[in-house]
Symmetry: C2
Subunit: 221 residues, 2 copies
Amino acid sequence: MEKKGNIPNATITRLSLYYRRLELLEFDGYRMVSSDKLAWLCQVNPAQVRKDLGYFGEFGVRGVGYDVIDLQVQIKKILAINRDWNLGVVGIGKLGSALLEHENLSVRGFNCVAAFDNSPRKIGNVLTSGLKIRPMQELKQTIRDLEIEIGVITTPASAAQSVANLLLGSHVNAILNFAPTRISVPSCCLVENIDFTVLLDILSYKLHHPSKNQRTRRTDS
Amino acid sequence: MEKKGNIPNATITRLSLYYRRLELLEFDGYRMVSSDKLAWLCQVNPAQVRKDLGYFGEFGVRGVGYDVIDLQVQIKKILAINRDWNLGVVGIGKLGSALLEHENLSVRGFNCVAAFDNSPRKIGNVLTSGLKIRPMQELKQTIRDLEIEIGVITTPASAAQSVANLLLGSHVNAILNFAPTRISVPSCCLVENIDFTVLLDILSYKLHHPSKNQRTRRTDS
C-alpha cells in the first residue's frame, strides 16, 4: 500500500490532525467528507490533503470524497495507532502527575503503565491512576517486564539527559521529552520535544503583528 | 526592516527554535555561527535558515556568518519577546499548577500573574508561586487590572470553550489551549493548541517504520 521514499515529518503530523478531525466528523454523524472540506476544517489546502494521503495509497472516491470511518481506519494503520503502546513516565512532579491522569492518553492507546522518580519522599506513593511510584533502580527490569516502548521525561532540565541515557540503556528507543532542554541521543533513537514556550513566541509575534495575522485568516464580518 | 507580505507560520516557529539554539551557542562561548552550522544544529537546511531570516532583513555577513548575540537581539525584536507578556491561567488542576511553576516561562518573559478556577475547594488557596487562586467571577476585572494579554486554558475539555468565551469577552485575544479539544474563536483572535498526543502518534509511526526513520537521520557509525 505504501509508496517508497521518505515521508515528510509534516505529513505525519497532518495525518494525525486529519484523524482527529475525522473522529469529530463521525461524532457529528457524517459518513463522507470531501478533501476540500477536510482541508478547510484542518486549515490546510486541499491539494495538501490529497498529497499527504497519496503517499500511502488511494483512499477517496473522485467527486465523492473520503469515507469518514474507513479513512480513520486507514490512518490508524499508517500511524500504527491501531494497537496500544506502553509508556513509562520518569519524574513524577506536578507535570508527570498531570500526564498520568490525562484523559486523552489511554483513550488514544498510549497506556502509562509505570511511573518512576528518584525522590525517597515519592517512591512507593500510589497515584490517582493506581500506579505506584517506582525507584529508578527498577527502571530497566520494569521496562522489560511491562514491555514499555516509549519513555516520557518529565524531570527538571538538569536530570533529562541522564534519564534519557537510562531509558536508552534499557532499549527504549522513543522518548517524549517535556523537560525544558534538548537531549542528545544516537541516530537509532527517536525524540520528540515538547516546548510550549515556542507556541507562546508565536502568539507574541502575532499579537505584535496583528495586521499580518488578520490577512492570513478568514474574516467573520 | 521587515518585508511586506505574509510570513509563514513555520518560519515563526523556526525563528523561535533558532533563538533557543543561539542561546546555547552563546552559553558555549561562540561569538559567530554560519548559517550551515545553525541549520545543522536545528535540523533544517541552510537555505531555509537564510530564507527565514531574509523575510526580516540582512543579518549575516557573507562568508562569516551571524553574530550570535546580535542575531538573538534581532529575533527577540521580530518575535516581540524583547518585552514581557502577562498571562492568566484558567483551570488549576495538576497541569495548571505545573505550568505556574514551570521554570521556563518567566525566564522567557511570560509571566503568569493570575490563576483562576471555579472550584470552591481551590479558590483562595495560595500556590507555590505565591499566587492566590481567584474565582472566575474576578476574571474580567483581574485581566484589566493586571494587563493580561494571553490566556492559558488548562481546564478539562468540557470547560474549554466557555472559558475561551469568557477570555474573549474580557478582550484577551490570544489563547494557549492545553485542553484536549479544539475551541472556536472569531478570526480576530489567536489560538495555539497543545496536543502532545500528536507527538506520540509521530513516535508511533516512526517506531513502526524504523527504516524510513533511519534513512532520514544522520548515522553515528
